[in-house]
Chain length 243, copies 4
């Protein structure tokens, strides 16, 4: 085809086609980038695995909902997907009971394990807490199976059973003992740790001047109020967003 | 062939052959039966799955050793193989912890589950017993998985924590409550039941005239002495030999 | 004085006097009897010494109120005075704590001691029940001091913690154990016994066909409903009215 | 009598008499002072009122024996008399049970009350610890009765149940809670306080580098070894010798 032989009309058509192509280019590029982006940014699926605190955490105002909000504020909502798998009253062996179905079968990328309160608490409420050695054995078995399945675990220390800030809550000693094991295990196995217990204790030192047993971060010594949910959300999001 | 035409020598040979055949017949028959028998009598592998009572049961003088002896007395030792899988302190969730390795992977034909004492006992000794609802949940999960794997489960009620025969042992009520669940579950699911608790109670009614707390069937209110091991062995063997 | 010499008038006067005397006699006799009666029938002061069941027992519809009604029905209300001294949560050592003020200083004639439920129950709810040996020691000390003060004690076995009628309530064994001690102590020391536990068990055998945990004689496994209060009232009144 | 007229011999005799008198004076004065002293320094009777730690404290090598030694070293043994009244397993209400006989009837000047460990400990070992409110009620009643009887009470905080120095002993929280009440009560009521818990914790911070659960000041997490007995003895003697 030669330009000289072209009728004005034909030339006009060509020019029209050319500009159409030029206009289409950015659109095409954008599509291309989007598709590639989409392939690169497959969302990370994060499961929060725990007890009633996590069960409530998935509700409106709960810590998982707040993490979702923080994620959006940081414009990272297309990188993360958050799933709550909390069941009231769960101890570490109750997590193990539903570990296959609620964790492994879900094929998550990251699992935040927040357990230990009922393991200690139920010793005094119903005589059905978890023996210390077994706490470690069940926990370790799940962490090992996550690693074998290519899942990144994140460990949390248990927050509080009572908000007194002078070491006088009934089960402070035992809770510290279990928290200590979690910290040491995480360190030895190079697992990200969210030390909720230390965070709570630090917060209560500053914000519980009347040394109340509850009401600062919890509603009932254990379950989180709005401030408690926000504190947990912040601590967890700080760790998660870097992963 | 006619006898009259036969030379003495030929007759003698025939007679020899005939008798050889006659003599060989039983041998052949025996061999045949033996071979067929061997195919039929592949030994049934029985796993005893439980706590310290079962751990001790596998030792000399223990109830598993005694079952083995009873089996031999009944000339059934080529039909059964007995394996002890008891671990001290185990509650139902501890059985579940090692269920894959110690039961499913062992490919048994029959599994006798003898658990429940620590689930109740540890409530008062260390605050780490098993919540009633969870006792059923863990137990049911294992029974279901056994059935799915073609394994025949046998359930036992927990024997005793204390040998008083007038319903005054500290945890009689709770033990009865867990035993009741086991009996009902076994009945509903058509699972052979060995009601050790009833057997022990009946025995203690007759043989504990001074109403001693221990020493009749146990050494320490829980772990079996020789009489206790024999009683358990008899009860179990009566059920097993018919399976 | 001769009737013949009397004028009609004089005779009339004499007759009048005579009849006045005759009429006055019954009045006088009645007054005499009444005064003597009043001296004889000084009301017997009965103190009911116990825990929250007794505290509620003194309220409208409570067992002490019902005993008062039964007493009136038997027209014995001028022979008995009933005083409730029950305090919620009390164990035997809590009774001892207020024994001087609430019993000895009140100078009662009879004291009905109804204790033992919290001594057993609190073992599992808060770890603050009463050691068996100490239960007996405190109880014995109070009974001895009552006897020394000329007060007649009456002992009751603890009723129920849970209304299952097949020996499956969590603390049936322990409750039976403490009840057994009370029965033996009462027998050995010749003290009237009200075996509430046996009474309740017999009642529940007949009137708890669905084997409910509560609602037949109690509202919450422990505290008495109307039927429970009436049952206790009848049992106690049967013993008290003969004293 | 004139010195000039005296023969040497007579003079000598006189001088001898004079010097005898002079020599006798101090002796006489000393006797006089001693007698008066003896009347003034009626020994202070100190009763140590507590549990098995105090029971063992009265034995050879126990803290009471060591206080007696320290007292002698300070040459104050004629000012103090030490009496141990410790009974194994005692909680505050067990002290109250024998308060009349073992304290009031003994007419002591000073009573050192060292209680609280079993009140907390038995919650987990046998479910028979002491409810917090009742701990205070029983303690207060005894202190009040001592004051009314002119007896000087001294209060001690409970030492330890476990020697971990990082707040991880099972019952650290509860023990701190009871210790806190004792400290506040002593301050409010102007009663000398021996803060054994703080003393032990400070000692363990320095002398338990491997963070052992026992063996530094106790033999078994609770009962004192030689070092523990000496530490208690020093703390107590420092307070007692000034009284």
């Amino acid at each position: 085809m030669n330009k000289k032989n072209l009728t004005p009309n034909a030339f006009s058509k060509m020019r029209s086609r050319f500009f159409k192509s030029v206009c289409a280019l950015p659109l095409f590029a954008w599509l291309l980038v989007s598709i590639l982006s989409f392939q690169n940014i497959k969302k990370k699926k994060v499961i929060f695995f725990g007890d009633s605190i996590t069960q409530q955490g998935a509700m409106a105002g709960g810590y998982i909902s707040k993490i979702d909000s923080l994620c959006k504020l940081d414009r990272l909502s297309n990188e993360f997907e958050f799933v709550g798998k909390g069941v009231g009253g769960n101890r570490v062996y109750d997590l193990f009971f539903r570990f296959q179905e609620d964790v492994l079968d879900q094929k998550p990328d990251i699992v935040v394990v927040y357990v230990g309160i009922n393991d200690v608490w139920h010793k005094t409420t119903s005589g059905t807490g978890t023996e210390f050695k077994k706490f470690g054995a069940f926990y370790d078995k799940m962490i090992s199976q996550m690693k074998a399945a290519g899942i990144q675990p994140v460990m949390c220390t248990p927050s509080v059973i009572g908000e007194y800030n002078d070491d006088t809550n009934l089960q402070d000693g035992d809770l510290n003992f279990y928290a200590k094991w979690i910290k040491e295990y995480a360190a030895q196995n190079n697992i990200p740790l969210i030390d909720l217990r230390q965070t709570f204790m630090g917060y209560l030192d500053l914000h519980n001047p009347k040394n109340e047993e509850k009401g600062v971060l919890t509603t009932d010594r254990v379950h989180l109020n709005a401030a408690g949910n926000l504190l947990v959300a912040k601590e967890m999001w700080d760790v998660l967003k870097k992963m």
